[in-house]
């Protein structure tokens, strides 16, 4: 395994405003990713998926702290790595791209400078050599006229091109792992597809492993091998994409799938032909995601769960992760396929 995360716990400090104590935003996350594979980490806003990614890279903000667990990357535990060791891993073996291509590039530096920088720092390349490589990287990520764009400032590029430039920066030193935190969320639908196609192509060319952080299940279905569904800091269900999304076992996964238009039982929801109004509303998951500081006891999802809402055990106990073959699920009331049918 290229990356193995075991029982990762990340805690945020007490917030001064409401006087809350420290809270675990990432609470015992375990997952693994093979070299060249693609895993997706899916969850609502606030479920802890971004903090999981930042924990892996050890880029947590000051308010957050890695409390326990291990992040084994290429045989080395990143949790105990020193800052100097991390600098030789970040950008070299493991890179990260962010949601906001608008603000993740430095506005006063040229795109070429920013792409050349990891090459100059980590590879010790000379300025002209790094510049040539930057042009080549820009060409590889599909930016037209790279000779000219290399001297452009970020504001001269469109959102899609900026994300391409970010990818070029991240992949400059040919890392083995790319952590992509909602890389397409801020982009137009057409550009999203292009960026994902680009990532897929680069993956095939360089054997890059991708940890994709997203809330977009359609994207997951298209590109990922494995999916991990996160809720309130825990991974509630994981397994191969086709199996998990085809026959979810956790009521939360099932509920997420039901909120997607055009997924599964469209007829039942009265999916009308174009031009005619839809008869039925899209279902929503009632309630709000559990706030890290005010997590319900027992299964964190139980207040919003159709199956376990009134179950005494779901309210009282935290369901352990049950592993069965390639899949795992943390639920006392795992759904069987008949029950899924009834739900969808």
């Amino acid at each position: 395994m290229l990356l193995t995360i075991e029982n990762l716990r990340t805690v945020i400090a007490a917030t001064g405003v409401d006087g809350d104590g420290p809270a675990a935003v990432v609470d015992g996350v375990s997952l693994s990713l093979a070299a060249g594979g693609t895993a997706a980490l899916v969850g609502e806003s606030g479920s802890g998926k971004t903090l999981t990614a930042l924990s892996i890279m050890r880029l947590l903000p000051e308010s957050a702290r890695l409390a326990s667990g291990r992040v084994i990357f290429e045989g080395r535990d990143l949790v105990t790595a020193t800052e100097a060791e991390l600098r030789r891993i970040r950008g070299v073996r493991a890179a990260m791209i962010f949601q906001e291509p608008m603000t993740s590039l430095n506005p006063v530096l040229t795109v070429g400078f920013q792409i050349a920088e990891p090459l100059r720092v980590h590879r010790g390349m000379s300025r002209p050599a790094a510049r040539r490589e930057a042009i080549e990287l820009l060409r590889r990520v599909g930016i037209p006229a790279p000779q000219r764009r290399v001297d452009a400032h970020p504001h001269e590029l469109s959102g899609g091109m900026r994300q391409r430039a970010m990818i070029a920066m991240a992949l400059a030193c040919r890392p083995a792992l790319l952590v992509a935190d909602e890389p397409t969320t801020a982009l137009d639908a057409t550009v999203q597809a292009q960026i994902m196609a680009l990532l897929g192509e680069l993956r095939r060319q360089t054997g890059l492993a991708l940890l994709l952080i997203t809330h977009d299940l359609r994207l997951v279905a298209r590109v990922a091998d494995d999916v991990h569904i996160m809720y309130a800091g825990r991974i509630v269900e994981s397994g191969p994409v086709a199996e998990v999304l085809g026959a979810p076992r956790h009521p939360y996964t099932a509920a997420l799938l039901r909120t997607l238009p055009g997924w599964g039982g469209d007829a039942a929801r009265g999916n009308a032909p174009l031009g005619e109004p839809r008869r039925a509303r899209l279902p929503v998951i009632p309630g709000e995601p559990a706030h890290a500081h005010r997590r319900p006891g027992g299964c964190a999802f139980h207040p919003r769960c159709e199956v376990g809402k009134d179950d005494a055990r779901c309210r009282a106990e935290v369901p352990p992760v049950e592993r069965r073959g390639a899949r795992s699920c943390a639920c006392f009331k795992e759904l069987s396929s008949e029950r899924v049918g009834a739900l969808v």
Partner: protein, 303 residues
């Protein structure tokens, strides 16, 4: 579209007429003072007691001082010294203030709190007193500094010059430190800093190559405004007699000499008016340029 704000910085700066005019004036003053330095260097020292206190004439267009030295040469030479002292002091202030503020802002936390409290403390001290202390203590030490051969490292008149520049720079970096620290504090939370960290770049590189270029604007504005302030402080100290020492000449020292000769019987107006006017016009121009730069830079941040 007259209201439309030009896109580039220079486009906006060019619209600030007063600032552009002032900049042209400053460049002219600087050029004239610098290019005439080889001539004024010895002429401003040449005494001729027979010609003392002459009003402006053809041979001495700006008159002569009490020792018969040519005021034109002295004013031009004094300008070169005043301006270079101002630039040097501003450079010292920017260098110290930027480094200090950037470190405090980037490291944050307790280090930041401690560093900024120190700034507050120095801020509370009377600048003039601090300056006098610095000049006296530094000056004595520098004057005793010798090469191994026994020759002094700096001539007495240049010791004062260097000490003044360092001392003025050493008390005026506080504002830069505060401005830079505040900006770094907000810039380090920017996603592009996180992205740079995710690329495994060393901290100093992120600070100098990624964060500081974003601060070029405010730092340039401060530097421009620090130059006139330094010149003024130097003039004031020279006026009080603790600044640059004769035979060195600066505008402040020339004006002070002129004022000393004020008496109810005869008014040697050129001895006060010439250096005073040169000083005031230059300071005014520097302030206009600084304001113009600030306006041109801040417009970008507006809507």
């Amino acid at each position: 579209m007259r209201n439309h704000s030009p896109r580039t910085f220079w486009g906006r700066f060019r619209r600030e007429r007063l600032a552009v005019l002032s900049l042209a004036f400053l460049v002219a003053v600087l050029l004239i003072c610098a290019t005439t330095l080889p001539f004024t260097w010895s002429r401003m020292r040449a005494q001729n007691l027979a010609d003392a206190r002459q009003p402006p004439t053809w041979s001495h267009p700006l008159g002569t001082d009490e020792l018969g030295r040519d005021m034109l040469a002295r004013t031009l030479y004094g300008g070169a010294i005043s301006l270079s002292l101002g630039l040097l002091a501003a450079a010292v202030a920017v260098a110290i203030g930027t480094t200090y503020g950037a470190i405090a802002g980037y490291v944050g936390g307790r280090v930041d709190a401690l560093m900024m409290r120190l700034v507050d403390v120095i801020y509370a001290l009377p600048t003039l007193l601090l300056l006098m202390l610095l000049t006296v203590s530094l000056g004595a030490r520098l004057e005793q500094l010798r090469w191994p051969s026994g020759a002094p490292v700096l001539g007495a008149e240049w010791v004062r010059f260097a000490v003044m520049a360092v001392a003025i720079g050493g008390v005026s970096w506080l504002t830069v430190a505060r401005v830079v620290r505040g900006q770094v504090l907000s810039l380090r939370e920017q996603p592009f800093v996180e992205a740079a960290r995710a690329l495994g770049l060393p901290t100093w590189r992120i600070l100098w190559r990624h964060i500081l270029p974003n601060l070029a604007g405010p730092i340039i504005v401060f530097a421009t405004l620090a130059v006139p302030q330094a010149i003024l402080q130097e003039s004031f100290l020279s006026f009080l007699g603790v600044g640059v020492q004769p035979p060195q000449a600066t505008w402040g020292l020339l004006a002070s000499d002129g004022v000393r000769l004020l008496n109810p019987v005869r008014f040697y107006w050129w001895l006060v008016v010439v250096p005073g006017l040169a000083l005031s016009l230059t300071l005014l121009a520097l302030n206009f340029v600084g304001d113009g730069l600030r306006d041109a830079l801040s417009e970008r941040k507006g809507i």
